[in-house]
């Protein structure tokens, strides 16, 4: 009964927010429901027949969730998701309230929730999921999330409390993620990527987990996909992923590129196969109609230019975006947009962990904008071998987004493909101008 009154309080708040257009609609109803009953989620979800899949990791949550949702919906499941960015307890609660009717019934069979790295332990206190997908753990917003190992520690503690019924899907190639297995009672599956994608020769600079999570010895990598994702062995204690043998699918829909998306794809396929029992042929067929999530390799047509938006919010993600551009275009025009607002992280130091050599060799024009345009300008300037005119010829800095877009148009021709690498808030701002619509 208590959970129903909470639900109604949440639904009422939702209605008020909508009616009066108050904003923050993706978190407030949940906030109110939890005020009425702090155990709302736990009580409400008891006896409900709902598959809950949590997707966790630094990069790829949105794309993996969208892939999984698409596969499931194309195969007859009814699925709902939490809204972009509403990945704390309030946001997830709101999502449940919105998708439940006044009688407390949910007409969906599956919920997919993207979960904030720091909040997984809080959410696991309220929700016992059917499955959790762990994608990766990279350095990201140190000012907000803290260190990579600190997060892994929190996850380990939370995972111990889960029952056997929760299935865990782990990225075999991220040492810290693979190591989570130790704390899991339930069934565990691994995903990796086809052999051809392990193309890096050396460990790059944007890595965090290059030492053995068990004994602290430096890991030996025999293959590297990107950052610290690869095939590794600890020469001291024997910790390795080389012995994991799971079948890897080689199908890739044409709208997805970049090694990082192959991981996202494999995560979604593995989940669809193991949790939802879908045959691989049906998964392939459904993926043919997949379209990327906004800002994630999203193609936008603007003033006769094809703009590929590649959200790039941390070193590993940024480096992957640069690889995508290098594969597609050897004379590219690129717009970099760096903001330092709360969703981006206030600290922009991370740009110095990005490897920009490929960018300055391949890009014929680099336009830079955002709150911290000059910081990004310096990052690019200090990539050039000499202080010649090459930098001033190639780079244009415009603090205002509108001015930067005008430069982008001025410097390109009709039908040309151009690339935008924005941080989160910069992506929203750019997208608003390019599509004429707001998202949130």
């Amino acid at each position: 009964m208590k959970s129903l009154s909470s639900l109604l309080a949440g639904k009422f708040t939702n209605a008020v927010i909508k009616e009066f257009n108050l904003g923050s609609g993706s978190t407030w109803p949940g906030h109110v429901a939890l005020k009425v009953n702090p155990q709302f989620l736990k009580d409400f979800l008891k006896n409900k027949k709902l598959n809950i899949v949590l997707v966790v990791g630094t990069n790829g949550k949105t794309t993996t969730s969208k892939l999984l949702r698409h596969i499931l919906e194309e195969n007859g499941h009814r699925v709902f998701q939490n809204e972009e960015g509403a990945n704390l307890v309030n946001g997830i609660t709101t999502s449940i309230i919105r998708n439940t009717n006044k009688l407390g019934r949910i007409s969906y069979d599956t919920a997919i929730f993207e979960v904030d790295e720091n909040n997984l332990p809080h959410i696991l206190k309220q929700i016992t999921p059917t499955a959790i997908v762990f994608l990766n753990l990279f350095r990201d917003q140190l000012d907000r999330y803290g260190e990579v190992h600190t997060i892994a520690q929190k996850w380990k503690k939370a995972l111990v409390t889960l029952p056997k019924s929760t299935t865990i899907i782990l990225n075999a190639d991220d040492p810290e993620i693979r190591y989570l297995e130790k704390n899991i009672e339930g069934k565990t599956y691994y995903f990796s990527i086809p052999d051809t994608y392990f193309s890096k020769k050396e460990i790059t600079h944007d890595t965090d987990s290059t030492h053995c999570p068990e004994c602290g010895t430096k890991l030996r990598f025999s293959k590297i996909a990107y950052s610290h994702l690869g095939k590794y062995t600890c020469t001291k204690c024997g910790f390795t992923n080389e012995t994991i043998k799971e079948k890897i699918d080689t199908f890739v829909p044409t709208v997805l590129s970049g090694t990082y998306n192959i991981y996202n794809l494999q995560a979604a396929i593995k989940t669809a196969q193991e949790i939802f029992d879908l045959p691989i042929e049906k998964i392939h067929t459904s993926l043919q109609t997949f379209t990327p999530a906004f800002g994630r390799q999203e193609l936008i047509e603007y003033k006769k230019r094809n703009i590929l938006m590649l959200l790039s919010k941390n070193p590993a993600g940024f480096n992957q975006s640069l690889s995508v551009i290098a594969d597609k275009d050897k004379k590219s025009t690129v717009l970099l947009a760096l903001n330092d607002r709360i969703p981006d992280g206030r600290d922009v130091s991370w740009i110095w962990d990005v490897d920009t050599d490929e960018l300055i060799t391949n890009a014929s024009r680099i336009i830079i904008t955002g709150d911290r345009a000059y910081d990004m300008g310096l990052r690019i300037k200090y990539s050039f071998a000499d202080q010649s005119s090459k930098f001033t010829d190639a780079v244009i800095i415009k603090e205002k987004t509108n001015d930067a877009i005008n430069e982008l148009i001025k410097n390109t021709k009709d039908g040309e493909t151009v690339y935008i690498l924005p941080t989160y808030s910069a992506m929203l701002e750019l997208r608003k101008i390019l599509t004429g619509k707001e998202i949130l």
Binding site: E147, D347, I351, D353, K381, Y382
Partner: protein, 262 residues
């Protein structure tokens, strides 16, 4: 400046490079190379010998995550004499983020044992406990040039300020023999109370700013390079000028953002 060469020693790049720390090394390297000064970067690892350490003309250390810090500290003990020698011989050094704590007298974490430092700087660092807030945010501070044995008029870039980002749990108190590197105008600094930021001993600078201190503070980069040349070649060598307009714009934009008048 083609006839000059410098070796930059970089403390444990694998283990101490938390968040853009390498921006400092890139800045030093480029500002030398753009002037024709040849640069060799010596990554300091557990395998580095004391002889190799003695060839260093400029020393840099960044931050590390807790687990890596333990590995670093174990190895650093065996190199303590060599590092003391470098600093005593006036080798310019920059320690940012977590590394000044390792160079101080000790660091007391919120849980666990006190970690003894190398004792180069007369300072003590204590973590007030897991419930106390970390000191996080943009910072503007005024450089105490008098503590750096350099007239600011010798520098090509004229700014008495430094800008950066701090993110630390530990609170540092300077001892009587330590001089602060700068005085905080906006931000927390060493401990959030006495307005001191960082520490100076001879030509060694410790600074709580983390990540890339030097790109937006080219005058500090040039101070380190000038001193490295002066110590190595035993004469005062004037640095050739560089076009620093973008560096100054980046520096000033943070000063303005934090409401400080230039």
């Amino acid at each position: 400046m083609e006839n000059y060469t410098l070796t930059i020693g970089w403390l444990y790049p694998d283990l101490m490079s938390t968040y853009g720390d390498r921006g400092n090394v890139i800045t030093l390297q480029k500002r030398c190379e753009w002037r024709g000064i040849s640069i060799k970067i010596l990554p300091i690892t557990p395998e580095t010998t004391n002889h190799e350490l003695s060839t260093i003309n400029l020393l840099f250390g960044g931050g590390s995550q807790d687990r890596e810090q333990e590995i670093v500290m174990r190895d650093l003990k065996s190199k303590s004499d060599s590092i003391h020698k470098l600093i005593e011989h006036n080798i310019p050094s920059l320690f940012v983020c977590g590394s000044p704590q390792l160079m101080g007298k000790f660091y007391e974490p919120s849980e666990g044992k006190r970690i003894e430092g190398l004792g180069i700087f007369d300072m003590e660092t204590r973590h007030p406990g897991p419930t106390d807030d970390r000191l996080i945010g943009n910072v503007v501070a005024k450089v105490n040039w008098e503590n750096l044995q350099l007239e600011s008029s010798q520098l090509k870039v004229k700014s008495s300020l430094i800008v950066g980002f701090e993110n630390h749990g530990g609170r540092t108190t300077l001892g009587l023999n330590a001089k602060p590197f700068a005085t905080v105008i906006v931000g927390n600094g060493n401990n959030g109370e006495d307005k001191t930021e960082g520490v100076v001993y001879k030509n060694a600078i410790g600074c709580y700013f983390h990540g890339p201190l030097l790109p937006k503070n080219p005058h500090i980069a040039d101070f380190l390079i000038s001193k490295a040349l002066e110590v190595k070649y035993e004469k005062s060598i004037e640095l050739s000028p560089l076009d620093d307009s973008l560096e100054i714009q980046a520096h000033n934009s943070i000063v303005k953002k934090l409401g400080v008048r230039i």
